[in-house]
Symmetry: C2
Subunit: 226 residues, 2 copies
Amino acid sequence: LIKLKSISKIYKMGSIDVPALRKIDLNIKRGDYIAVMGPSGSGKSTLMNIIGCLDVPTSGEYFLNNRDVSKLNDNELANIRNKEIGFVFQTFNLLPRLNAQKNVELPLIYGGKTKKERNEISMDLLKKVGIGNRASHLPGELSGGQRQKVAIARALANNPDIILADEPTGNLDTKSGAEIMTIFDKLNDEGTTILLVTHESFIGEHANSIIHILDGEIEKHVKVSK
Amino acid sequence: LIKLKSISKIYKMGSIDVPALRKIDLNIKRGDYIAVMGPSGSGKSTLMNIIGCLDVPTSGEYFLNNRDVSKLNDNELANIRNKEIGFVFQTFNLLPRLNAQKNVELPLIYGGKTKKERNEISMDLLKKVGIGNRASHLPGELSGGQRQKVAIARALANNPDIILADEPTGNLDTKSGAEIMTIFDKLNDEGTTILLVTHESFIGEHANSIIHILDGEIEKHVKVSK
Ligand SMILES: Nc1ncnc2c1ncn2[C@@H]1O[C@H](COP(=O)(O)OP(=O)(O)OP(=O)(O)O)[C@@H](O)[C@H]1O
Ligand SMILES: Nc1ncnc2c1ncn2[C@@H]1O[C@H](COP(=O)(O)OP(=O)(O)OP(=O)(O)O)[C@@H](O)[C@H]1O
Ligand SMILES: [Mg+2]
Ligand SMILES: [Mg+2]
């Protein structure tokens, strides 16, 4: 499903090069459930952004469903970002002038859903992540964990084949974190491919395997014993 | 040092009232080291913002060093926010057009330090939190955890009497989180009063006691057995 060949990402800052990813090789099969762990600054978000078609590598190749992503046009990329991949951002990235429900509805507009469908789907998702009673709050009127839940609901809106979640429980209390992981576990049982970045091993152990990243490289890829 | 009497915070949203804090009574002595824990949306950040003089309660009284905070003028409040209290925000709140070092220097300008002093103090702090090599990066050129470290360094800049840290390790890998807690533990040994919000019990257990918040109220305040 996802094939990365010798993917590198180098940020150029004046005369200095910051190598965020170095020749990453990675194969992810449909239905995989993989956790990505590693120190701050090791390249996890950069890797997720490239897989999610939100950023381009400096070198190397990325095949999604056997299509060379670097050869796709803007419409095809937008379609992937909005319908095939659900992305939970580390910094949530909600639109500040839309309330929680409208933020969740955004991908549904792209997905061609009717107004009635968008209303139902978004409310269902907000209730599912436990904030049905915050639907009309703006992001600035929500707690950190509530914003994270809106970001998660939005990622699930179009029932995507692939979920990329960058530290989805970082701002959640233990109980909320467990509820979100139950949602992800169930989606994976139903066939959704899931990549999730986390700093917490007990969250990572919900996955079937864990990729450890260090200084822009994959250090090891270990199965989770269940 | 900090005395809250029947502090309430009610957000008015049209015809609906959202009670974020309900009649909170709290006494914090100089040198206390207290963790604040509770579910998402329970009122932790709201409580921290009131204590940090960043927000005003709807009712109740707040005495800081025996001064009624509601009677202080803008200059006195700015002085408290910039010199007496160091605040680590849950969402970091860095200035996007200043690099890491300049963000850390900001409180030092208010503190009347010379240019040379600001340069030395900010670089020391960035190295102390482990990102000396990211001093010239803008926030947008930093990882989530690196931004959090800049926010922590900035809170320490003026060597404040009180540190209010709202989930300071939420985006940090385990090792970085432990390094930050070592810094906080040492500051408390040296007399700094510390309030820190966390979702992780093993982080909370660095403190001397833990306040559990539920639905805007203090449910219990328990000593940490060491
Ligand atoms: N400006 C606002 N208008 C309306 N309601 C608000 C506003 N700000 C916060 N709230 C509500 O107040 C409650 C408390 O928010 P607060 O940010 O203090 O929670 P928290 O305990 O810090 O949560 P978290 O652990 O998720 O960060 C939440 O239910 C939130 O929806
Ligand atoms: N635009 C940029 N310009 C320069 N360097 C950058 C830029 N964006 C990221 N970096 C650097 O690339 C490295 C990898 O960043 P990345 O955000 O992928 O880390 P991460 O593993 O997600 O960390 P965290 O766990 O803290 O979120 C970091 O050292 C960061 O400073
Ligand atoms: Mg990251
Ligand atoms: Mg909060």
